[in-house]
Symmetry: C3
Subunit: 205 residues, 3 copies
């Protein structure tokens, strides 16, 4: 129940940040709604398509599409106010990441997949929406370059699986890793933590 509520907040938050990204590229209103839906629901869709887990979430719950599109339009209407809410957004976005990750892991476990794939299912759910957004906006996905987005997702998923393995109380197993992942993400943003980069220059090819 609480995880459904957090999921709804998370897709709304993702839709709103995606709408701002679309606004930065002068998209029209329909484009804003499309980018918002793809960012918010795309991670889960990529996961479901790769795992053959049909029907997709938004096919079963079309109301999520209306919710994300609505959130995107409201965001476009009140964009000037958004600037003031910058920190709130970063928090909601980070919450989306950890909630999506845990939900993705749960679906991987329901399908009785190997542990590597369960973890990956969480990472895909958490991260793929943002990658699709960046590809459609014609950027190199942020995920691949910085911000520890994938690392936070991997950490959250690993902690969650570890907690389940230790047979902790279910609420602890869900909320604990999410809280740790959230803190880690906010600290990473605050202190600008980055993974080491691999920089390679050559002439051939």
């Amino acid at each position: 129940m609480i995880i459904l509520l957090m999921y709804l907040i998370a897709i709304t938050a993702e839709a709103m940040t995606a709408a701002l990204a679309a606004g930065r590229r002068d998209m029209d209103w329909i484009g804003v709604c499309i980018i918002a839906c793809i960012t918010a629901l795309g991670g889960g869709s990529v996961r479901d398509v790769l795992l053959g887990h049909y029907p997709l979430t938004w096919v079963k719950h079309p109301e999520y599409l209306w919710m994300t599109a609505g959130a995107a339009i409201i965001t476009a209407l009140i964009a000037p106010v958004m600037r003031r809410l910058h920190s709130l957004f970063l928090l909601l976005d980070a919450m989306g990441l950890v909630v999506f990750t845990v939900i993705g892991c749960q679906i991987g476990m329901e399908m009785e997949l190997p542990i590597t794939i369960v973890l990956l299912s969480g990472m895909i759910t958490g991260c793929a929406g943002g990658v699709l957004r960046d590809v459609l906006c014609n950027d190199i996905p942020l995920l691949l370059r910085k911000e520890m987005y994938a690392s936070v997702s991997m950490l959250t998923g690993a902690l969650y699986l570890g907690a389940l393995h230790l047979e902790l109380n279910e609420n602890v197993a869900v909320l604990g890793p999410m809280a740790i992942g959230l803190c880690f993400r906010m600290l990473a943003l605050r202190y600008n933590w980055q993974m080491p980069r691999f920089v390679y220059r050559d002439e051939w090819r």
Copy 2:
């Protein structure tokens, strides 16, 4: 029957406009064929993958692949003549959009999906091929930025579903919305109608 004929004209037209787009980026002949196939058949493929509707059209009808690849090569051969046929192309391209949309809605209804998803199935069929083309050509998809492409698709689909709901004669229900969508698209091109854009500038993130 008539819808199959229109479908074949539509995929041919999409293949030809895609070939011209590939030529603008100096692709080689195989690249031109690939882009043509992806543009013409990609919308339906994205829809089928998302809805879990297997096998895909071109797996069942491989002859469509030869048709689109052939149309692309012919286009490349007679490209100089194409310039004169500009208006014809825009018309065929618009026809493709509305035909694909209606076919997509029909498949959504066959699968007994919710009404929102039926409409979306039409939009994905109509629009996703062009988005794939733009992503592979390394552009921000035109769809997201202007030209009312998605709007025309949404309008056509909504009129079609409305006509079915009113239990109109089937030919009317299919051809009427397609004709209206086509006119709307041609008027939008002629008078350069655009959806309002959402322009947002900030420094953070």
Copy 3:
């Protein structure tokens, strides 16, 4: 058996060249691993999703993910040495292309698909990983522009299907076309063979 061994060498080689591509774009270590996995396993994944052939290879064999990610990290660690191994890499990369193509054709035949789709299944398996890599790295896919990558894949697949049709000894039917495809690719690289390009310039649209 020998084809499994060649497959493992091929995904390792693809992962290593992808890691170098990621390094050229200053990706972080996780980005390098992700790009490597997508390049090495993406072609087969695209094929499986399009053909509805579940579960995907890496879902059934998660160890391939560790292998490719491990190969990518090792590549990043010993990148300076890589420069010396340039020719070896080109050879391994070409081997990957032909091995993937033959495996893709085999899966198409197992699914009893039409001959066009069997050939296409081979081409998708051979080429789609590199296309995904280029899209994520924000390039126009190399495949579409030069290097005869797709042509080599098509040739290898056609020779393989022809050899099967002639009921040649199985080893000959597998290894012969792969050897010819490999030679063709190396010759194309050596003498800079290119497909003719389609260059088109206009002002409209």
